[in-house]
């Protein structure tokens, strides 16, 4: 009995585990990672709250400073406004309240897809680097967009075949952290510690001889930046 029980168990276990691997793999592939970074949402709220405070001040409901902090003063003003305008007076800043304040949800209406894509590429390529190392990688991507030898959009540069290892091996699909977002934002705002470099490489792992022939501008962390 035991002998063929064992014989039966092996393929069963194998099938089961194989099935699990398969289904896990499928799950990983099919779950879209769309959820926006929580920090960004919270952070955006700060400037939105400033707008709310400003508007409440204009309407005579709030006389505190414009801080962007949703403190007790602001909350009290929101509740007063809500009860005056026949809204649920819970102090919750929902779309209805925002619309009534004349601040319709315009802020969240457009996603900054360039920033997101840039942040993803920075995170995938340079998450182990210092902050300035991440700004530099973002700047190289943007310099390529401007450069005649490269595609003219951020998506074109990021997804250019053979351009970035992290795109090739799928790390590009990891969700970027707040540091990567901030580095991408800085680069978009014009920060470029590499002064126009269009290449970077890790001299310890680079296999291409050609890349060593480029004019080196600077080294930040593990990356050499070149023109």
């Amino acid at each position: 009995m035991k002998k063929w029980q064992l014989l039966l168990a092996i393929p069963l276990a194998f099938m089961l585990s194989f099935g699990t691997i398969l289904s896990l793999g499928m799950k990983k592939l099919s779950t879209p990672q769309l959820s926006s970074n929580q920090n960004v949402v919270t952070a955006q709220t700060a400037s939105q709250i400033q707008a709310v405070q400003q508007r409440l001040k204009e309407l005579g409901y709030y006389d505190g400073p414009i801080t962007g902090n949703y403190g007790p003063l602001t909350r009290a003003a929101v509740i007063k406004f809500q009860s005056d305008y026949g809204l649920n007076a819970e102090g919750y800043l929902g779309p209805q309240t925002l619309a009534m304040l004349g601040l319709s949800d315009n802020y969240s209406s457009q996603n900054n897809s360039d920033l997101y894509l840039l942040a993803k590429c920075v995170y995938a390529e340079a998450r182990g680097e210092s902050y300035v190392g991440q700004v530099a990688v973002a700047a190289v991507i943007l310099n390529r967009v401007e450069h005649p030898s490269f595609p003219n959009t951020i998506a074109g540069v990021v997804y250019q075949p053979w351009a970035f290892t992290a795109v090739y091996d799928g790390q590009i699909n990891l969700e970027p952290d707040q540091t990567a977002y901030s580095a991408a934002q800085d680069a978009l705002n014009g920060w470029d510690p590499t002064y126009g470099c269009i290449y970077y490489y890790n001299p310890e792992t680079a296999t291409s001889q050609w890349i060593f022939s480029r004019e080196v501008v600077t080294t930040i962390g593990k990356h050499v930046f070149a023109k």
Partner: protein, 456 residues
């Protein structure tokens, strides 16, 4: 006897049971093998399908690329053989579209990055040059003889490129697989890149193009106008940085030197628990960039506070003539742009950008490359038309908020403009009207996004 029987019976049962067990086991094993085999077959077929789809996309990109180059060649030859400037203008603008499409398609192909740099640059420059000439014709000007000479050279280069593409297309007809050839690496290139190298620059005679349009190399290497003073040593630079950021020199570490249009000493130090990276120019010892990051979600100060903190910091770096001309709050940080204002004209080319932490008021970032690249004593000409004249050009649905004078960087040159800020519905617009002829030079719209405002 009884015992022997029992033993025999048991033996028989054993003998009978054993084959049943084996049959069950074998059939399960067989089933498993069959199942796995089927699974493997389908997943393999799936992979093949994906590979085929990818190959088809590559083939499409390749043929689109070839078509666009062929069309550009034909149109360019027509443009060279006509004296009708309207028709030439139309053709040149189409050539420009064709080559930019060709560039896009070539970029979709799995070429290793360093393989076709020169070809792409050539294609891009043809696009820029034909576009410039097309604009010139649409302004009513004519093509000079040197324009025509350059165009003829360009044409013969494109003819060579077209011939190379013809050879490649013959290989494609013989079943050349782009995907399979792109997967094997040979040194710095992959096989596909090597095949495509017939289209590489070395085979093409590139004319030297000197023009003021976009993508000209001369525009990428900018002259530095705003740096004066002696070359300083690393220690002197460290001392200067220490005074600006108020960190003792012993706590500032020298990291590296940067050699580019700006030559800098690069330093790292810690301030307010954040690692700051700062670059000081060797010439004149100016702070040119600084980067650091603070994950702050609490805002405890107003934008106005941030502006005055930023202004004090800029003064520490030795710049005293700037005012805040743009501000935006992204996350817990204020991004502020400062520019000099001369005779009430905002000098936008000379921007200094600064990032302030709205939690603790720390300076997180500083960027003065534009300022030191462009800032110089300029002779600003008089405004030839009145602000009323340009305000009259606004459409009625725009509500005017302010009219300012500005020097605006437009397509690599500086143009003296009126800057009109206005609202339409809830959208904010900036209009730039030329101060000499009132022409509209640029319109920017503020786009509100999840991550702050964006100008487009």
């Amino acid at each position: 006897m009884e015992n022997k029987k029992t033993v025999q019976k048991n033996d028989k049962t054993k003998r009978r049971r054993a084959p049943v067990g084996w049959i069950v086991t074998c059939s399960i094993l067989g089933g498993t093998v069959l199942g796995l085999g089927t699974l493997l077959y389908f997943s393999n077929q799936n992979a093949n399908n994906h590979a085929m789809r990818l190959e088809n996309m590559y083939q499409k990109s390749y043929y689109d690329f070839a078509d666009n180059i062929n069309n550009a060649e034909v149109k360019l030859s027509k443009a060279l053989s006509t004296n009708d400037s309207n028709y030439a203008q139309k053709l040149l603008s189409e050539v420009s579209k064709n080559v930019s499409e060709a560039e896009d398609k070539l970029n979709n192909l799995p070429v290793s990055i360093n393989g076709l740099e020169e070809s792409l640059k050539f294609i891009n420059q043809v696009g820029g040059y034909t576009n410039t000439l097309s604009k010139k014709l649409s302004r009513g000007e004519t093509l000079s003889s040197s324009d025509k000479t350059t165009l003829r050279k360009l044409h013969s280069s494109i003819v060579e490129m077209k011939n190379s593409i013809g050879e490649m297309t013959n290989d494609m007809k013989d079943g050349y697989g782009i995907l399979s050839n792109s997967l094997s690496l040979k040194g710095d290139y992959n096989d596909f890149t090597i095949s495509l190298q017939t289209i590489k620059s070395n085979d093409v005679d590139y004319p030297t193009m000197i023009y003021d349009g976009p993508f000209a190399d001369s525009q990428i290497e900018k002259d530095i106008k705003g740096l004066t003073g002696e070359m300083i040593s690393m220690d002197e630079a460290k001392q200067k940085l220490s005074q600006i950021v108020k960190v003792a020199p012993e706590e500032i570490s020298f990291m590296n030197e940067t050699k580019s249009s700006f030559e800098t000493y690069d330093f790292m130090f810690e301030k307010n628990q954040a690692n700051c990276y700062a670059q000081m120019t060797k010439k004149g010892g100016k702070l040119i960039t600084m980067s650091s990051f603070a994950d702050n979600k609490n805002i405890s100060m107003s934008k106005e506070d941030a502006i005055s903190i930023a202004k004090e910091f800029i003064a520490e770096t030795g710049v005293n003539d700037v005012e805040c001309v743009w501000s935006d709050i992204i996350g817990g940080n204020a991004y502020l742009n400062f520019a000099p204002i001369e005779n009430s004209v905002i000098l936008y080319p000379d921007l200094i950008k600064i990032k302030v932490d709205l939690g603790g008021g720390a300076i997180l970032g500083y960027e003065a490359t534009s300022y030191y690249t462009n800032h110089t004593q300029r002779k600003l000409s008089e405004f030839k038309i009145s602000s009323q004249q340009v305000q009259d050009k606004l459409q009625k649905e725009f509500t005017l908020i302010s009219t300012k004078k500005a020097l605006a960087p437009i397509e690599y040159s500086e143009i003296l403009c009126y800057e009109l800020t206005c609202y339409k519905n809830s959208d904010l617009y900036y209009f730039y009207f030329n101060s000499e002829n009132g022409n509209l030079e640029n319109v920017l719209r503020v786009i509100k996004t999840n991550d702050g405002n964006k100008l487009m």
